[in-house]
Amino acid sequence: MERDLDQLYTALNAIKVLRSNVGSVFETVSNGLRADHGEEGKENKFMLELQDVLTTVNNNLRDVETAAANLTPPPGPFNLGNTAYLSQETTQERQALYGQLVNSYKWTDKIREYSTLAGNILATNSFNKTYKTFSTTKRRKTQTSNHNVPPEVIENLITGIDRLFPDVTINATRPFVPNPVIQASLGRVLKAIIAFKGLMIEWVIVKAHSESSDLWTESRYKVFRKVTENCHAAMCHFYSPTMPDLAVRSFMHWFHSYNTLFSCSCKRCGNHLHSNLPPTWRDLRTLEPYHEECK
């Protein structure tokens, strides 16, 4: 492909040179005899000059022919699909579509390239969110999917969590039906907005009660930004592809320990504050509070 392109460029270049030199032939002819040919033997000088330019054109033509011979002709007509009709578009505002189309094609192509690279790098990392096995000896029974489950199953899980902790209030919204976004209020301490992908926790963000409940803007308070960070770590830690509902329950159990965020001192140093922050980390097993620096 790369080589083909190079050859195409060479050929196009050769044509450009040819055209420009043909242009100078005509220029010479149209100018006819000029003052700088002098008086003596001016016809001869003119003829020699014309011969020179014609030879150049001849050479250029040969170059074009060789370059063209080197090109591999495309196997068939290019299939542009429905986009071919774009060229027949007459309305002014849509004529720009083709350019945009080409740009987005390039963009997707780049995405594909980068994601392949990223995929290769991530494949060496053991943090897999999907359960897969490469055993070839025995065909395993197909795993039940975690991200494509009936809404009732998720509904039951959420009601289950709601009942489990009296001081956690849960509000669920479903912008995309099987993937609810819940807002879990932990007493009067904080609220977390948790997005599910089927039975998996996909994203968590922790904020103050007074802040907006959208999934994307982070809290303006350092302490909640830190807790958000730690929630992400815990979300990965508790994830279990074979028992997704248990993973969610363990996460919520751990998350619930933040009801003492402001009132508990650090288990290691005994202080409330370290770099002006309360203990923002909770041990994943014992749920004991620690400062980031003390854990």
């Binding site: 308070y221 302490v223 009132s263």
Partner: protein, 207 residues
């Protein structure tokens, strides 16, 4: 708006008001605080004219943290009624000048630099009562938390780290009965009024 504690910082014999503020500024800057503008809390007190019957007192307070709000606290014999209104209330008070008169010598204010340090907000206020320097008020707000009972210990640790032994070991009197309530801006106003009342009564500097 988070839980806020307002406390007096005693001025020792060999110090003046500005040098005390300077000392506190040095301490808070050493902890990594960054100055974010200035603040002002002021208080004017009006009393009802005798024709109105039982005497009533209205305190009008402004806080630069809530610039569009006028806070008023009405004190009758057995009740205290707080009110938060918009700026027009100031004009209303002018209209009522025939019924409520202000004692001009009592205009109290606390103003000075405002600092941010982590999630804390620290304000170092120079207190004057009718233009006379009276002392230094330190205000500390822990913005992420709204229930005093939850974060009092944490705030006490912060106050001690910054004010040393002069930090109060108990929550401000006003807060003590409201430790489980959700904190709101009027609670800060109450604390300022509590402090201003003490400053007004003190004959000279409050130490």
């Amino acid at each position: 708006m988070g839980v806020t504690v307002v406390q007096n910082f005693p001025i020792t014999e060999n110090r003046t008001g500005p040098s005390t503020i300077e000392l506190l500024t040095k301490r808070i800057s050493a902890l990594g605080a960054i100055q974010q503008g200035h603040f002002l809390v002021d208080c004017e007190t009006y009393t009802s004219v005798p024709q109105l019957g039982n005497p009533r007192t209205v305190h009008i307070l402004h806080n630069s943290e809530q610039p569009a709000t006028v806070f008023s606290i009405l004190e009758t014999e057995n009740k205290t009624i707080p009110l938060a209104t918009d700026g027009l209330f100031d004009l209303l008070m002018i209209k009522m000048a025939n019924f409520y008169t202000s004692k001009k010598q009592t205009k109290a204010e606390s103003k000075g630099p405002r600092y941010e340090i982590g999630d804390f907000l620290v304000k170092l206020g120079t207190v004057t009562v009718s233009q006379n320097f009276k002392g230094v008020l330190v205000e500390v707000e822990y913005r992420p938390c709204v229930v005093p009972a939850m974060c009092w210990e944490l705030m006490r640790e912060f106050l001690q780290g910054f004010l040393g032994s002069t930090a109060q070991s108990a929550p401000p009197l006003y807060l003590q009965n409201r430790m489980q309530d959700i904190y709101s801006p009027i609670d800060t106003i109450h604390q300022y009024l509590e402090q201003f009342t003490i400053y007004r009564k003190a004959p000279g500097l409050r130490t």
